[in-house]
Amino acid sequence: MAEKEEIARALGEMGQDSAVLTKSNIAHLVATGHTWLSLREVPGVHLQAKRTSDGIAAELTVSEGARIENPVHLCVGVLEKRGDQRINIAIHLEARSAATFMAHCFFPSAEKVLHAMDAVVDLGREAELRFLEGHYHGPFGGASVLPKADVHVGPRARYVSDFSLTTGRVGQLYIDYNVEAEEEALAEMTTRIFGHATDDIRIRERVALAGKRSRSLIKIRVAVEDQASADVSGITEGREEGARGHVDCVEIVKDQAVANAVPIVKVTHPLAKVTHEAAIGSVDKKQLETLMAHGLTPAQAVDMVVTGMLR
């Protein structure tokens, strides 16, 4: 099927071997536009995919106690120049289960593409989810990507996410993630984005430390160049005794690009503690001069610092 070959090629461009889709011991779900193309379950991973009135929906469940060895691949995208993809995803990790999800979101030819994702993620007691999300939006800047997620991290569960969009154009990207962490739960979210030309990046990540001794880290790394703009807010609320949260945001700005960062910390329990650091500006002069003293040109030095930060 031509579309499968296209998907394989898109995966390759994102640095992922497309052979993962042919292996019987690796679970996957693949959709382009509003069509589910392929689905494979493995023991412990149950998948359901359907068409809805205005898009598509999927449910992914990892059974209680199951520890899934290979990452579950979730490939979604629009391959055409124009198109829509509205997708609802529900992910449920039952108690003490563990899995890694790799989401590949590709819009390689996007000239006017809309991708709206609504995700509900629920981690049961002591469950562990690593959610790695890689995006490729093509060279034209014509993608509008609106990912929204509500994540519930149960008692002693661990949620680690990594969102990356560092090659090609971004287009319009509005991230809205809300995480609630229960007693002794951990939420660690990393976001890395490089914006160019007129790319428009808005990120809102919020963690509520709702349980005793819950912990969180929001780490955001954004570089913008040309006329791109980035508007970032990392919000952490410490509501319970022993809750510890940290927001760490670095934005590098080149050319006429504009960036801002608003780390918001709220503490409503006297024994909770939330800290933040934010650095926005051009590339640090000492870093540049150090690399230049090692023989790099100014342009090479800037490139190395930016690439390193987004790695």
């Binding site: 790394r221 640090d284 001069e289 230049m292 030095a301 390193g308 930060m309 987004l310």
Partner: protein
């Protein structure tokens, strides 16, 4: 001996304050030259001027490297001529591995060899990042190794003996030996007189100029005796 670096009548002010004031200094090829001076006397400033850092353009004076006046060259152009600098407090980088950092100058260099030279085990350090997870002393060792890996003609080492978990005298001596073995000249900046003893020649900086040059033991004695002919001890405490 062939002259490598000649600085003549160098002056630099910042915030209406003279930091360097008619400084003269020469260093020969492969010479280990210690520069002694108390806190705040302008040692790092001199290092930045020689390297060509932004904001450190001298008001007067010439810097000649090889046969070339380099006053107008950018940092990387000076680096490509063979000058490099190990900062007193080196910068940290996210996402740059030590292996990568040690190969910046020549991709074919063997990073493990240079790590061993500064007393770090390659297996442990090569995959680590040059970021804030390194201690101050570890970061300084990495900087020395990376500067060594560049095979420079002139390495300016700004206080390799200072900072938390500082290098011992023996370790510094071993590092200097390594630079010698690579055929590099070294400008070894320090405020500890015993450090000068690993050098071939030494100079004392005070009041923005070199007040005394000579054999390491003579300069060390002069520096230790706190005798300064320029400021009479009013500025540098060496009265």
């Amino acid at each position: 001996m062939t002259e490598l670096l000649r600085i003549h009548s160098l002056s630099l002010s910042a915030d209406h304050k003279k930091i360097l004031d008619g400084l003269d200094l020469t260093i020969a090829e492969q010479e280990i030259h210690a520069l002694l001076g108390t806190n705040g006397c302008g040692k790092s400033t001199l290092a930045f001027v020689i390297m060509g850092c932004e904001g450190y353009l001298p008001a007067t004076g010439t810097i000649v490297f090889g046969n070339r006046v380099i006053n107008d060259l950018k940092i990387h152009e000076r680096a490509r001529l063979g000058i490099t600098l190990a900062w007193q407090e080196p910068a940290r980088f996210e996402g740059i591995s030590i292996a990568n950092y040690l190969s910046l100058g020549s991709p074919s260099a063997d990073p493990a060899r240079y790590l061993q030279r500064v007393g770090l085990t390659p297996d442990e350090y090569l995959p680590r990042m040059v970021d804030k997870t390194l201690s101050g002393g570890q970061r300084k060792r990495i900087e020395l190794a990376s500067v060594l890996a560049l095979k420079p003609k002139l390495a300016i080492l700004d206080e390799p003996d200072s900072g938390i978990d500082m290098l011992s005298m023996n370790e510094i001596a071993a590092v200097i030996e390594a630079f010698k073995a690579e055929g590099a000249a070294v400008l070894l900046i320090t405020h500890r007189e015993e450090m000068a003893l690993v050098s071939d020649r030494a100079s004392q900086l005070c009041g923005g100029r070199i007040v005394f040059s000579g054999t390491p033991s003579n300069v060390a004695r002069h520096y230790k005796a706190r005798t300064c002919i320029v400021c009479d001890g009013n500025e540098c405490g060496n009265g």
